[in-house]
Subunit: 547 residues, 2 copies
């Protein structure tokens, strides 16, 4: 029997458009041209202005030869330029590669090479790092300098053209056209994974579109929200909130740096309603002098993400009246792809229990198909007993295209038809996922991923070191910090301070171990270092002190 | 140059899932199994129960031989069974054809044949019509009777199996699996268009998924809303709100019939926050005795749609404190695909101006790519002057697959890469669309579409009638009603009452002209009846009285 619903009912330009978040800014600039899109210090841009600046950026990039599939990199803070890049770059068909501004020159150079950037838009603040990185890069890169009036510190211009000049050469009527395929790449975000070399996570227009809407629906964001940029836009494109705010027709309140006074001043002055961040951001807010919070009367909603589970922070934020929601995800899942969806009756529980319930990684986002906990050896679900460990796996439209130029890692991560997070967890009897440990050697410090192997690689380069293992140790401020365990060559001597100084000279500051312990490393019979033993040690101050 | 973002970054089961609203009920039943999904009279179903009943329905349909591409029809009121059909039917791959319960037997028979229904789930209330219709149908149809405890009127069971019995034979663990292609059909909705024969509008999973989320985002619906079913679920699948409420994890409050007391009692008792309807529903509410509204304190938001622009109703609802939003769309656009998006500064305008602003058809929905006003002769946009008339056209993912088994009508409606609505409008200087007239001969009465040509066809069958033209005339209660202009055969005489009675015997009651005017019909030089002249006449009571 023929299916009558498949006859002469095909796609055409009237009834099918590839999904793309580029449509959101066009819609909002059309409907609310005069609403404020971006606030940054003394600068204000309406949605029409931000849209027009994005069009100028796009046309200027095209005039400089940028075509579909090219990479345009940005080393920027949370500034209006960064917002504009999220629209002006992909509308040309190019892919936005937003750099973590905290990276060292060597890593930046690696990423510029690997990501094949043809353009780099860079803030003067990072000129020292970028200059060093560019010296190591063989390919020609057009450098566009951003000189933000809100930044008065050191740093020079590196390129031949300034961002504002570049835009001035652009066409404000550049045709706004989405991709011809919603599977086309929109952005590139590098992540520190299990290996020392960062992997380039590729997002597509479809996934970003869906996660931008999911952020609204899953969080229950009302239209015209005022969003404070405490989360770096270079983290998973600000968990897709750069695009969410365009769909929401809201206002982006920029912040160059996270500082309690700046945060509360912005919340008060601009009527901020929403913000996101790693635990350290919330912790900073909770622990700020109460006087800083004076005069703030609006409802404030925050999203919190990062392992380990920030129970203490959740409790602190409840104490200062912020409505905190815990989300979970990875660079590979467009940022948040799970949410600890609240239940009305949780409010009847004692606070400690509420905190425990809210600290779980939770359930899938609206646009994600599934989150589950499987035994990776046979891909069977673990029992919902809150005790049996397995690996968190995701499936659905909020999973990356894959890793750029890394077929092996892509295939491994998608083995068995699920994205393997590397996070070890249990499934609670109510179907909520709760992380217990991580199988990958990643340390999350202040919201930043640190590859333990990358740190180990540096330690191994020290002449006194014969074996090194780096694990996470809990830290009140940063969530986790790297803790190094070292075996020294026979007869060699070196102090903790010397090792730390050595690391400072060879890696980004946030990756430097805060503790160094000289100790024979525990090994399996096959010689593999038993990191779980070291983690136990690192977790126990007593053990560390006595070691 | 090769595009590095298109190499080894393909779709797989981990990172791609076809969009489908079936995922929403699964998610909500998983996260909130005990939340109330459906309230109907004394009946209550949790989301787990509704989901389980949908699974039983699906497995029982499959056991009866239903396969992908089959049609399952429903002649149902706004009852729990109707909610369940919206999930249990499409999960089998079948297509839900929800009947307008107000149709006459002949039209029902036509649709059962044309839509090739293999199953009909029918409420006892409509057994007289359905029985007559089935007598005209040649194909075997499995009849499943719904005997709603909330209905105590006349009507018999027609089939061999009752809905509850049918479900009891189903499998509550039926595997919940979305479509393998998001372009697959999910539902069939007939519309009265320019021709007498209704056209079968086909929706796909992708469009429904996107409009279900758009309803939330465009309206700013908070999670766990309580939605009152004043809008029939058979109208564009309740403007996709059956699926929206699953995504929202909210509560469906059913209503078998629209009645002011029932409405306000439900709002009060169940804490209703949202509802939709044609102008007549809102008008009924606004004009109800104020005592009926006593004790209702929650914020109530309503969506209103239908032409002609219901300015008076918008004003009335503002007066009783309902937050009314005007949306616009057609059966072909999944219901609402445009919204009169509000601006904060409108509130500073005098009420009459506010009403005027809010009565416009507005701008595109989030998930719709475009709404515009074009000159259909050259497909060029009209100037944004609020005066130049053109035709409203839509483009994007909220446009139907096409008309079932009607390639010609499908192609015509998509001519030039836009969906032609047939509605004549102007574009205001702020980019908001405002309907001025309709080019298609459709009369919208109490939210129901009436094809004027269909009514004319009946009138032409009357022995005394030599020419007939039916147009809309404004009506305080129904918005519009059909008004018939007739030329009689030489020597023939017939009264208005006789014509009306003749119509009653040959069409659904709501289609019967409320006025009949005997008058030579104005014609163009080529002999075409000048309906716009008749509309002017019909719009003017004075003209009618003197004619």
């Amino acid at each position: 029997m023929q299916n009558i619903y498949k006859q002469n009912l095909d796609k055409n330009t009237a009834n099918f458009t590839p999904l793309s978040p580029l449509t959101f800014i066009e819609r909002t600039a059309y409907i609310y041209p005069q609403r404020t899109a971006v606030i940054h210090g003394q600068r204000r841009y309406t949605w029409l202005e931000t849209f027009t600046r994005a069009r100028c950026l796009a046309s200027a990039l095209v005039a400089h030869g940028i075509v579909e599939g090219d990479t345009v990199a940005a080393m920027l803070n949370n500034t209006p330029e960064m917002v504009e890049c999220h629209f002006g770059v992909p509308v040309t068909g190019a892919v936005l590669h937003a750099f973590n501004t905290r990276l060292d020159a060597e890593t930046v150079a690696f990423m510029l090479e690997h990501g094949e950037a043809r353009v780099l838009i860079t803030d003067r603040e990072y000129s020292a790092t970028v200059k060093k990185a560019l010296a190591k890069v063989q390919r020609p890169i057009l450098i566009i300098d951003v000189d933000d009036p809100e930044y008065s510190g050191a740093g020079e211009r590196l390129g031949s053209i300034d961002y504002e000049q570049f835009l001035a050469g652009g066409d404000p009527d550049y045709p706004w056209q989405g991709p011809d395929d919603e599977w086309n790449a929109i952005s590139l975000n590098y992540t520190s994974g299990t290996t020392g070399n960062p992997k380039g996570v590729v997002y597509h227009h479809r996934g970003v579109y869906l996660n931008a809407l999911s952020n609204i629906v899953s969080w229950g964001m009302e239209p015209h929200s005022v969003y404070l940029w405490t989360l770096p836009m270079f983290h998973c494109n600000g968990w897709c909130f750069v695009w969410t705010m365009a769909a929401n027709a809201g206002t982006n309140v920029c912040l160059r740096r996270v500082d309690a006074k700046l945060i509360f001043d912005a919340i008060r002055e601009h009527g901020v309603t929403h913000y996101c961040g790693a635990p350290i951001v919330h912790s900073l807010m909770a622990n700020a002098p109460p006087a800083l919070r004076a005069g703030i009367t609006q409802k404030l909603s925050g999203l919190i993400a990062a392992a380990p589970p920030p129970e203490a922070v959740i409790e602190q934020m409840a104490n200062i009246g912020v409505d905190l929601t815990h989300v979970y995800g990875l660079t590979e899942t467009y940022g948040p792809a799970a949410v600890c969806a609240k239940h009305g009756d949780w409010a009847d529980q004692p606070l400690a229990r509420q905190v425990e319930l809210n600290a779980r990684q939770g359930v899938r986002y609206h646009a994600q198909e599934a989150i589950t906990v499987l035994d990776p050896s046979d891909m069977q679900p673990v029992p919902w007993d809150g005790e049996t460990m397995g690996e968190i796996m995701f499936r659905g439209n909020l999973v990356m295209k894959g890793y750029l130029k890394n077929q092996k890692a892509t295939e491994e991560s998608f083995a068995g038809g699920w994205y393997h997070t590397g996070d070890l967890a249990v499934m609670n009897p109510d179907g909520y996922v709760k992380i217990k440990d991580r199988s990958k050697d990643v340390i999350i410090s202040g919201g930043e991923n640190i590859s333990s192997i990358e740190v180990e690689d540096v330690l191994y380069r020290h002449p006194a070191v014969i074996a090194a293992a780096v694990v996470a140790t809990p830290d009140e401020k940063w969530g986790e910090v790297p803790c190094a365990f070292l075996e020294l060559r026979e007869g060699a001597t070196v102090s903790e301070e010397e090792i730390i100084e050595f690391c400072r000279q060879n890696m980004a500051r946030f990756k430097v171990p805060k503790r160094v312990i000289f100790n024979p490393l525990p090994r399996t019979s096959t010689g593999k270092i038993q990191k779980y033993v070291l983690r136990q040690q690192a977790n126990s101050t007593a053990a560390i002190s006595s070691s």
